[in-house]
Structure formats: structure tokens, C-alpha cells
Amino acid sequence: MPTVEISLVLAAAVFCVGACGVLLRRDPLVMFICIEMMFNAANLAFVALSDRLKSVQGQTLVFLVIAVAAAEVAVGLSIIIAIFRTEKDVNVDHLSELKG
């Protein structure tokens, strides 16, 4: 059974779903979850190809990606909460202060 090919197609499909989620949803937390979903799709591709090539290099890179994603979540959530503390509103369409 071609598990590696199925995993790569699954990774691409999940990445599509995540990208559409970022475009469709207006709630910053759900958009953030969708970004994490895209990270995970990339990780799945790494693990699948690492299995195919019989090398742990891909798994090592996924380890580093997970650590970077954890740092990103901490900073991102604190930014969202800081915005909420000043704006009392978390719809991304209403946040246009940085418009030039």
C-alpha cells in the first residue's frame, strides 16, 4: 500500500483546507489554528518523505519546526490578546490602523 503517496496527497489537501480557512474565517484565533494546520501539513510531508528515503533528517527538521511553531503560537496569541485589550473587538476586518 502506497502510504507515502497517500500521506503527501493528504498533506497537500490539509494545506489547502488551512489556506482556505485563513481566507474565509474572520476570527483571528481560528485563522491562527488554520496557520498551525498548514505547519502540520508541511510536517506530514517531511515525515512521509523521511519514511520513503529511510533517513531521519526529515524527522529532525520536524522537531525543529514544532519548536518554532510553539514560539510562534506564544507570540501570536499574546499579540491577539494585546489587540483585544485595546480594541475590545477581535474581527480582523475592523483592524485597519496599519493601513498606510
Binding site: M1, T3, V4, E5, I6, S7, L8, V9, L10, A12, A13, V14, F15, C16, V17, A19, C20, G21, L24, R25, R26, D27, L29, I33, E36, N40, N43, L44, V47, L49, S50, R52, L53, K54, S55, V56, Q57, Q59, T60, V62, F63, L64, I66, A67, V68, A70, A71, E72, V73, A74, V75, L77, I79, I80, A82, F84, T86, E87, N91, D93
Partner: protein, 174 residues
């Protein structure tokens, strides 16, 4: 088809289904819980793809720590009031999302049709079993070939922690 294959297909389908559920559901808490399910399915798939260490890390770091942080943020932001305006604000956004989905699907179809551009051609030595001594093998590569990257990631995490503390302490003026 062996037991592992059946398990793999079931996990792959539920991973995709829970990913779609994250985007479709209108309640933020439900979206977060669907995402936990998605992560657990991926952890199972990692284990089936001979990466048991990453499967465990996925459950501990992602499904555990990161999602608890998300649920705390949902609690602080009190998203319950925002439920009704979740999906698809305007027709323009919907059209953009459909366009992106179509483009990505077309690219994916082309990729599958051309056998992943030959990237899969050099299959590794089939005699090697990655599950065997997985942690030691990953650690060997991590601390030898990627030692600098590992240190950099440690520094990045420290910086992130300090940044979050500064942001939480500061008095914000609107």
C-alpha cells in the same frame, strides 16, 4: 490489506474530516477541539510512518501545550459572542477562497499525475527500519548535523518567552 493499512486509511480520512470541520464550524471552542482531533490523527499517522518519537512529541507539545494555550486565549477573549459572524464575510472573500482551492487542487492533480516530479524516485534502503532506535537516530542527527539550528531554536524560544512577558506586563493605551 493489513491492520496497519486499515488504521492508516481511517486516520487519514479522519484527519482530513477534522481539518474541514475546523474551518466549517462556527464555534471557536469547537474549532479548537476539532483541531486537537486532527493533531491526534496526525500523531497516529506519524507513528505508522516510522516516526514514533514525533508522534509522542505531537501529542505532548501540540495537542497538549499549544492547544491548552489556545483554549486559554479563547477563554480570555470570550469568543462566545462572536459565534454568529464566523464564516465568509463577503462574496469577494468566498470567491478568493474558491479560487485558491481550485488552483491548489489543480497543482496537486498535476503533481500526482507526474509522479511527484521524480522526487520519490530514489527510495531508500528497504532494509533500514526507522522505528528501530528512533530516538537515538534523531538525536544523533539533531546534535551533530543540526546542532547550530538546535541552539538557535532554543534562543528563539527564550526570546519568545521574554517577549510575551514584556507584552503582558506593559500598560496598553488605546
Amino acid at each position: 490489506m493489513g491492520l496497519n493499512d486499515v488504521l492508516f486509511v481511517v486516520l487519514a480520512f479522519s484527519a482530513l474530516a477534522s481539518a474541514v470541520a475546523v474551518v466549517m464550524t462556527r464555534n471557536t471552542v469547537h474549532a479548537a477541539l476539532h483541531f486537537v482531533g486532527h493533531l491526534l490523527c496526525l500523531a497516529g499517522i506519524y507513528s505508522l510512518l516510522h516516526a514514533p518519537l514525533l508522534g509522542v512529541l505531537q501529542v505532548m507539545v501540540y495537542a497538549g501545550a499549544v492547544m491548552v494555550l489556545f483554549l486559554f486565549a479563547v477563554m480570555i477573549l470570550d469568543m462566545g459572542e462572536q459565534e454568529h459572524q464566523a464564516v465568509a464575510a463577503s462574496k469577494k472573500q468566498l470567491a478568493g477562497a474558491v479560487l485558491v482551492a481550485l488552483l491548489l487542487a489543480a497543482g496537486l492533480a498535476a503533481l500526482v499525475q507526474h509522479g511527484f516530479g521524480g522526487a520519490l524516485a530514489p527510495a531508500g534502503d528497504p532494509a533500514v527500519d526507522l522505528t528501530n532506535d528512533n530516538i537515538a537516530a534523531v538525536a544523533r542527527v539533531l546534535f551533530r548535523d543540526y546542532a547550530l539550528a538546535f541552539e538557535a531554536v532554543g534562543l528563539l524560544l527564550l526570546t519568545a518567552v521574554v517577549a510575551v512577558m514584556v507584552m503582558a506586563k506593559r500598560k496598553l493605551e488605546s
